[in-house]
């Protein structure tokens, strides 16, 4: 048995670990009930199976085929997005969708149907999967995609690993001139301005995301960042430095004393820097990837991320209300991220993105105090008819899950009975 953590480091549960490394032998490894686990970059228990078996997929890291003329890439599910980006961008192709870290697997990105800063233009990760191979614990192998067994496909995209093990997938990449992004940062003082900036930017800018200062009185001031792929090719790439959090500090370094000065400094520094500039895609898309193990700064008790999406019509009020609760609690985080999703229905039965606005924040784990705050935030999300992101969740109540994911009953029919996770037991009862 080995202790496996997810990114939030909230638990230290034992798992029996089985490493999958041979695509031809996956089936043979699924003898006892378990759960696929990629890079463990999910925050809560969606990628954990406490006291049970975990099938680590990072050894399934082979490319299978690439068509230079169409940009279609076939690869095993344990390939990291980082490997795809570094190999393909110099050849003129880029992943259409990536989350805020490239240290995740293709399988993990499909199972959580992850989104990026360009959801309003291209949708989520699953929208670019042409087909995938699903291996079930009963011995079945199902090839599915938008045109082939679409019901299995939409259960598996965003299906949080519960429909089977994804062995490989075919991804449609997008053409790109080079590794550079034209970026612009604009400061805003309140949510109204944020929404105005979103509305006026989305037609012209592929990537938009905002950092907000969740501590300041009134809440809602922040920095709006937008970017477009640049036409430039030849420019020397910056040298990547690697910072590391070497140890777990005995207490969380994120507390009431550090937060306010940090958020203030960051806001003013960036505001002062606010301008247009050419950025390399790595720091632009993955600002934290160079700080290895930054999740350790929250100390041994770990941290929660609370990410919700609420419909656009009520978005401003709901976000304002959440920010108010958070400011009152004094427990906000370094990373409060606000973004609007595009007006498109999600492909997956349990996919998170839906039309509206999404707010994501980290909270150090202060036990009861933190849970009380979450209760108040839950109430706002429920009333707004929003939902919480499963990839980030470790505690939402079952009722909120059922209210937020109306296709749950349909999804359940596609579950693999040989697979269960901490999250599925908590929210689906098995």
């Amino acid at each position: 048995m080995v202790t496996i953590n997810s990114w939030g480091r909230l638990s230290r549960e034992e798992h029996n670990v089985v490493a999958l490394s041979d695509r031809g032998q996956i089936q043979a490894s699924l003898t006892t009930p378990g759960l696929a686990h990629g890079m463990g970059r999910s925050y809560g228990d969606v990628c954990l199976n406490p006291q049970g078996e975990i099938w680590i997929t990072t050894g399934l890291d082979h490319f299978i085929a690439f068509d230079e003329s169409t940009g279609r890439l076939v690869c095993e599910a344990g390939v990291l997005l980082q490997d795809i980006q570094r190999l393909m961008i110099p050849r003129g192709w880029i992943l259409p969708v990536t989350p805020g870290t490239q240290l995740v697997t293709v399988g993990g990105a499909i199972a959580n149907d992850v989104h990026g800063k360009n959801h309003h233009v291209v949708g989520s990760f699953g929208d670019h999967i042409k087909s995938l191979t699903l291996i079930r614990t009963n011995g079945e192998t199902i090839e599915c995609g938008p045109d082939q067994h679409p019901e299995w496909f939409s259960a598996t995209v965003g299906g949080v690993g519960l429909t089977g093990v994804i062995a490989s997938a075919e991804i449609q990449l997008r053409p790109v001139a080079g590794p550079w992004v034209d970026t612009e940062t604009i400061a805003f003082d309140n949510l109204e301005e944020f929404f105005r900036l979103s509305d006026t930017s989305e037609a012209q800018w592929e990537h938009t995301v905002s950092w907000i200062d969740c501590i300041s009185k009134g809440g809602g001031r922040g920095l709006f960042m937008r970017g477009n792929p640049a036409d430039t090719k030849d420019r020397k790439a910056p040298k990547a430095g690697k910072l590391t959090m070497p140890i777990v500090p005995p207490v969380s370094m994120v507390n009431r004393l550090t937060l306010r000065p940090f958020n203030m400094t960051y806001y003013h520094l960036k505001k002062w820097q606010a301008k247009r500039e050419l950025a390399h895609y790595e720091p632009f898309f993955y600002p934290l990837d160079n700080v290895l193990h930054w999740n350790r700064m929250y100390g041994p008790k770990g941290f929660y991320q609370y990410q919700s999406v609420v419909p656009r019509e009520v978005g401003q009020d709901a976000v304002q209300a959440m920010l108010k609760e958070i400011a009152r609690s004094g427990d906000g985080s370094f990373l409060a991220v606000l973004k609007t999703f595009g007006n498109r229905q999600p492909l997956g039965m349990l996919s998170f993105p839906q039309p509206g606005v999404t707010l994501a924040l980290d909270f150090p784990n202060h036990g009861d105090r933190t849970h009380k705050l979450f209760k108040r935030l839950d109430a706002i999300v429920r009333e707004a008819k929003g939902r919480i992101y499963l990839a980030k969740d470790a505690r939402m109540p079952k009722e909120l899950f059922e209210a937020g994911y109306p296709r749950l009953a349909e999804f359940i029919q596609y579950r693999d009975p040989g697979i269960s996770s901490g999250l599925s037991r908590r929210l689906m009862g098995s």
Partner: protein
């Protein structure tokens, strides 16, 4: 610009070998020849390399690793399409020491696959490299070959055989353009050692080991310990007096 290289990898499905191949693929080689026993696995590795380095020719050959005649024939065949710049001999399997003590057939297999077989491949390459007066021959040994220990001396003895053999080969090629490199990885995180990891062993990441192997081969070092710390650890272990050594449970 770097000259394009032809690279031959024996035991290409071993984890360290595969990671080395990926590193070489980044350098845009002209040809990578994979030699293995398992056709299906080798094909998977070949198609992966093909995506990583579309301009290189990737060949995938199978051979019986214990058949001296077949081995000689195969290396001869590889040379027919041009000289090899780098040959990496990487195969091996970690036997269960206790099982080897109880079953001479297993003991024999472990010695064959980890000792005799790599030497046969090396000798076949040596013959060709001598003719061409060029090439780097790299062989994966092990820190286990540095001093016999009760926990794995069958494996260690085979690797010790390889080490002694390489010394001789280095002597033979001392005044030529042929380079011979012995690589001694410490415990590395591969499918071969997965069971050690479950029981809490500290293992070096395989891509890091591979990067050091490729760099070491490039610079033509005679002996490469990887990770480097193992050169110090093994120096201590080699020099421990027996009265101390015998009390260690290693």
């Amino acid at each position: 610009m770097k000259l394009k290289k032809k690279i031959a990898i024996i035991g290409a499905t071993s984890a360290i070998a595969e990671q080395c191949a990926r590193q070489w693929a980044k350098e845009n080689p002209s040809e990578i020849v994979l030699v293995s026993r398992n056709q299906e696995k080798a094909e998977r590795i070949a198609s992966d390399l093909k995506v990583r380095t579309p301009d290189a020719v990737i060949t995938n050959l199978q051979v019986d690793f214990l058949d001296a005649g077949q081995i000689q024939e195969l290396i001869h065949q590889i040379y027919q399409s041009g000289n090899v710049d780098v040959a990496l001999i990487a195969h091996g399997s970690l036997p269960d020491q206790e099982a080897c003590q109880n079953d001479l057939v297993l003991c024999r297999e472990a010695l064959d696959v980890n000792g005799i077989s790599p030497v046969l491949f090396a000798e076949a390459f040596a013959m060709q490299m001598q003719k061409a007066n060029s090439g780097t021959l790299a062989i994966i040994g092990s820190v286990a070959g540095d001093r016999g220990r009760k926990s794995n001396y069958t494996y260690g003895a085979a690797k010790g055989l390889v080490a002694g053999y390489v010394q001789g080969l280095q002597h033979r090629f001392a005044n030529t353009n042929v380079k011979v490199v012995l690589i001694k990885p410490g415990p590395t995180d591969t499918p071969m050692t997965a069971h050690l990891k479950q029981s809490g062993a500290k293992l070096a990441p395989v891509d890091r080991v591979a990067a050091e192997v490729v760099r070491g081969i490039e610079s033509g070092q005679r002996v490469i310990y990887t990770p480097k710390i193992w050169s110090v650890i093994m120096m201590v272990i080699r020099n421990l007096p027996h009265f101390v050594f015998k009390r260690l449970d290693i």
